[in-house]
């Protein structure tokens, strides 16, 4: 059971696809004009990711090694088409807001990345949890970016959901935050903030057996304390 929880933790915190691995940047920046859109994109990607991980993991002994990438692409593209038709039918508002970025889930590097790096080498159960973890990490990141952009840029909180709330009249929305530059700015600030937290935490606790000489340490490659110089 621990293995499964470890996969979730890995996807959400340790290898968060957006903040740590910096994968799937296009939808991350393009659709996060509001928390609702971000969440919608995150959940659609998660649905595709979980099912594609399951299928690819189940078929991992059947798919010949040489044509594995085209095979993965066909599986992912079929799933994305299904998700696209479902969203169009049941949540037309979200379909209009996400537009061309729904079919572009096919080329989201997170999905092919997980297929190649994890699902093709591990049993279906673990692969599903890996997809869940990565998908949740992606959804949380997108919702978070969308929340800040919406709050500053439009002066609303969670619009489009039952919990919608508008800031009082006297707040003048800074509309550049819902435009293209705001996306880059918000993501830059969030990553810088996480970096600053990391630096502070690492100052307090040291890796076991660390004597500060990263140059000769065998674990320097994977160590977060390791100094780049």
């Amino acid at each position: 059971m621990n293995n499964y929880l470890e996969r979730l933790y890995n996807g959400i915190v340790k290898e968060n696809p957006t903040f740590i691995l910096m994968l799937g940047m296009c939808p991350t920046l393009a659709v996060t004009t509001s928390a609702f859109n971000g969440l919608g994109m995150g959940l659609s990607t998660m649905a595709v990711l979980v099912v594609s991980n399951l299928l690819i993991s189940a078929l991992r002994r059947v798919i010949p090694d040489k044509v594995r990438i085209p095979a993965y692409i066909v599986i992912v593209a079929s799933l994305v088409t299904i998700v696209q038709l479902l969203i169009q039918a049941y949540i037309p508002d979200l379909y209009d807001a996400l537009g061309i970025y729904i079919p572009l889930i096919v080329v989201n590097c997170i999905i092919l990345g997980r297929a190649e790096a994890y699902a093709s080498k591990n049993p279906p159960g673990l692969a599903v949890f890996d997809g869940l973890g990565m998908g949740l990490g992606f959804s949380i990141a997108l919702t978070c970016i969308g929340f800040f952009r919406e709050l500053i840029g439009a002066g609303t909180v969670l619009s489009g959901t039952p919990f919608a709330y508008s800031l009082p009249e006297f707040y003048e929305p800074v509309s550049i935050f819902v435009l293209a530059p705001g996306a880059f700015l918000v993501l830059a600030l969030i990553i810088a903030f996480l970096n600053a937290m990391n630096i502070q935490n690492n100052g307090k606790k040291k890796v076991e057996g660390c004597d500060g000489s990263c140059g000769t340490c065998g674990r320097a490659e994977t160590c977060r304390d390791a100094k780049s110089e």
Binding site: I73, V107, A180, A188, L189, I191, N195, A196
Partner: protein, 199 residues
């Protein structure tokens, strides 16, 4: 003619593919450390996008529409692009080894560049199709593809130029790496707003 010029300028500058539509961000952030590699990447992207928008336009108009299979467009387009990239790679390897060497590893990477699939899907969305425009649709698709790829090249080369200089600067530790690159992109995106009055 005027119409085509408008499509070209619109795709390259006004709606810049990276800075206002967010396609192709992975290579934009990943392969922009040096001007030389950035320019090679740009060249490869121009090459592939121009060819694939022509191929996809023909396939959409004369296969998918004809047999009423439009809902399969995502699957068909991604396969066309993947096959085309392989084909271009084999063709270049045989006929012009010099160009093949210059583009190097960047060619296969383009399959997962969402700018390629994005442009092809946009051509359909903007109705550059045979049913709407007749044979001019093919030209419009190719011009839009070329313009978009040119816009990508402009953006990635400028970014690489800036990053070559940033490398020598003393940046606060939390902002080192990705954040400073994203901030640069933010300022570039604001600068590209200046083009929005052009059309």
């Amino acid at each position: 003619m005027k119409e085509m010029m408008l499509i070209l300028v619109g795709a390259a500058l006004v709606n810049n593919v990276v800075l206002s539509q967010f396609f192709g961000l992975c290579p934009f952030l990943g392969v922009s450390k040096q001007v030389k590699t950035a320019a090679s990447m740009g060249g490869a992207v121009i090459f592939v996008i121009t060819i694939s928008s022509a191929a996809a336009s023909l396939i959409y108009d004369f296969v998918l529409v004809r047999f009423k299979l439009e809902y399969l467009q995502t699957i068909v387009f991604i396969l066309v692009i993947a096959a085309l990239v392989q084909l271009v790679e084999m063709f270049l390897k045989k006929t012009s080894p010099g160009l093949y060497q210059a583009l190097g590893v960047y060619l296969p990477l383009i399959t997962t560049n969402c700018a390629v699939l994005g442009v092809v899907l946009q051509n359909v969305q903007k109705e550059y199709t045979y049913a709407e425009m007749g044979w001019k649709a093919l030209l419009a698709s190719v011009v839009n593809g070329f313009g978009t790829a040119a816009g990508f090249t402009i953006a990635i080369v400028i970014m690489a130029g800036i990053r070559e200089r940033i490398a020598y600067n003393d940046i606060p530790r939390p902002f080192q790496g990705a954040p400073i690159v994203l901030l640069t992109a933010c300022l570039m995106a604001i600068a590209f707003f200046g083009f929005s009055g052009l059309i």
